[in-house]
């Protein structure tokens, strides 16, 4: 196996110049998975962002070397264990209709390719923008007659990871116009709203300060192309709404609920800021 590790492993000691700073990642590294699958981790910002930034970057770039390396090989990536578990769930019959996901969607590798890249997505029948997690629960409830999974729970994040990994390497490409536009506008409004007693918006940290340290954390652009992510901090997969909740909480604010219409709007908007980056899930973060 050939991995371009040289690049990632250099210059770290040099980076830790000031006292107390942690060794930060090499922001010029490239992400190649299993030695052959090249990821787009930096690319031109989508048109709707062109007045605020030129380039968009994956959160992988801002992680330390050890963390970066974990995502470069599926045998090292702890998130892949959950993908395997979800493969079993994909084939398992559940609910009153005696069906599994596979009953309707056959082979996940074929039927789910490209799906992650375009979610959240307008659902014509429902007349609303839906996240992948909502769609999973819709199938469980209405096609299988099975119980809905908890929005941020382990079964849900694992299934999201299984579906997402089928799009790995494909560019994120969520639609922001047409019927999705008003939801996108709502999400944008939220992104720039300063919440909580600290009066901080997503943009304050992830647009104005990416690349800077905030205490021990190296701020990224807060992209969600890598979601669900395996976090070393809590040793599990985390979906975007769980992460949003943590960030809103950290502004000393009342959070929104995972799965709520508010977070769906925010997810659509944040996803659209990553249009062009590779789907990276399951990614690894600290």
């Amino acid at each position: 196996m050939t991995k371009p590790m040289g690049n990632t492993l250099t210059a770290i000691a040099l980076a830790a110049v000031a006292f107390g700073t942690v060794a930060t990642a090499d922001e010029s590294a490239d992400l190649v998975i299993n030695g052959d699958q090249e990821m787009t981790i930096r690319t031109a910002a989508p048109a709707h962002l062109s007045d605020v930034m030129d380039e968009i970057n994956s959160g992988w770039l801002y992680r330390k070397d050890e963390t970066q390396l974990l995502q470069m090989d599926d045998f090292d990536n702890p998130g892949m264990i959950f993908v395997d578990l979800a493969q079993d769930a994909w084939n398992a019959v559940d609910g009153s209709e005696d069906k599994s996901c596979a009953s309707c969607h056959d082979n996940v590798e074929e039927t789910m390719k490209g799906v992650r890249a375009v979610y959240p997505k307008w659902n014509e029948t429902a007349g609303e923008v839906r996240t992948l997690a909502h769609q999973i629960n819709d199938c469980r409830e209405n096609q299988m007659g099975a119980e809905k999974w908890k929005y941020t729970g382990g079964k849900m994040t694992a299934m999201e990871a299984l579906i997402s990994v089928q799009s790995r390497g494909m560019p994120v490409d969520v639609a922001i116009d047409g019927p999705a536009q008003s939801t996108w506008e709502q999400g944008k409004e939220m992104y720039y709203s300063r919440t909580g007693q600290l009066e901080l918006s997503c943009a304050n940290c992830h647009e104005e300060n990416y690349g800077n340290m905030i205490r021990a954390d190296h701020l990224s652009q807060g992209q969600i192309n890598g979601f669900p992510v395996y976090r070393l901090k809590n040793s599990k997969l985390n979906n975007a709404h769980a992460r949003f909740k943590g960030c809103v909480r950290d502004t000393r604010a009342e959070t929104y609920k995972p799965g709520s219409a508010d977070f769906v709007a925010l997810e659509l908007y944040v996803a659209s800021r990553g249009n062009g980056l590779s789907v990276e899930a399951p990614s690894v973060r600290n």
């Binding site: 000031a18 006292f19 107390g20 700073t21 942690v22 709203s193 300063r194 919440t195 909580g196 007693q197 600290l198 009066e199 901080l200 304050n204 940290c205 104005e208 300060n209 800077n212 340290m213 905030i214 205490r215 021990a216 701020l219 909740k245 809103v248 909480r249 950290d250 502004t251 000393r252 604010a253 009342e254 959070t255």
Partner: protein, 158 residues
């Protein structure tokens, strides 16, 4: 003895001002965002201010600012400028204003207001993610602000 009764009084009356203390809503900023009078009515203790500035649950100034005087505290941020020399750049009134509500000095700054209790969007109950109940407390008390002002005033060297 005196201390105990003061703490007790403070917890009973919530954010209501103690004698000689300026309540968050009554702070007078001048046109440049400076605050002339001591918020607590007393002077500050620089040593305690240093502690507050480096403590995560208190001022956590190092989250955003590098401060050489606090080199023993790990992980200083880069979101704001280094505070080395800030004591030479700003007088006490200006520092007090910056701490109470930096937005009065720097329009739209990301620096949080440490002595402000209203005008927030979706204020939470500290870091629980739940909605705040009842009156909010400022992030730092009047005396804590004075202590940090006294500490930053000692940072005279670039």
């Amino acid at each position: 003895m005196k201390l105990t009764s003061l703490t007790l009084a403070a917890s009973l009356i919530g954010s209501a001002a103690l004698a000689g203390e300026v309540a968050p809503k009554d702070v007078q900023f001048d046109d440049y965002g400076a605050v002339e009078v001591s918020l607590s009515g007393a002077s500050g203790d620089a040593a305690n201010g240093a502690l507050i500035a480096g403590t995560k649950s208190k001022g956590n100034c190092v989250a955003c600012h590098a401060i050489t005087a606090l080199a023993d505290v790990p992980f200083h941020g880069e979101v704001g400028p280094t505070l080395d020399g800030a004591g030479a750049r700003w007088n006490a009134a200006e520092l007090r204003g910056l701490l109470a509500n930096a937005k009065m000095t720097f329009d739209g700054t990301v620096m949080p207001a440490f002595y402000k209790v209203d005008g927030f969007t979706r204020p939470g109950d500290a870091y629980t993610g739940k909605a705040a109940e009842g009156e909010l407390m400022p992030i730092l008390t009047a005396q804590e602000i004075e202590d940090v002002v006294a500490f930053v005033a000692t940072l005279n060297e670039e």
